[in-house]
Symmetry: C2
Subunit: 119 residues, 2 copies
Amino acid sequence: MEKISKSFLKDSYFITELNLCTIRLVNNCKFPWIILIPKRKKITDIFQLNKKDQNLLMEEIVYISKKMKKIFNAFNINVEKIGNIVSQLHIHIIARSKKDSSWPLSVWVVKKKNIQRKV
Amino acid sequence: MEKISKSFLKDSYFITELNLCTIRLVNNCKFPWIILIPKRKKITDIFQLNKKDQNLLMEEIVYISKKMKKIFNAFNINVEKIGNIVSQLHIHIIARSKKDSSWPLSVWVVKKKNIQRKV
């Protein structure tokens, strides 16, 4: 089994193990945000997984997405494989609300706040 | 078969049809950027597809990702299901280079340019 990247250990909390992935909650107060980390060595891309694991990954993405949709009454579910900074393969699953701070943009976009004048 | 959203017709170009998805090239000069649009009616989320189609989607994501990696000699492949603005299910596959304008951030983040002083 692959070790979890230090970056994930620092920025997220363990929830559970599924067949393929370790499931962790990202420490982010703005969005309900889960990452799925396949327990396979030296994998940075989905296409490097074997076919069986690819299907398992899809199954676990669907499983977690449904849970997130229900638990957080999400308007939409974002599913993203980025990995430009931390290369160990991980999938972000984020429950989006029309009232969240980046809506309708990606969670990676921080909207500028209109600071209200005090006088 | 589901009609393609007008937004996609406006902002992207038809490439080909795979078994599940229509493949289109996004009109964006900054990144090689493909979208996969499953040809199923009234689907906004991956988990609404049936199991067979979920696996087919994974297969087509892998197929296109490998092509993008090779053709564009990509350093990394980003795979994203967002759909906050256009709800018809579509998957973004983006070939990333360390030299692209948003690296290492998400393509949704536009970095501020440092404008060089002329005098």
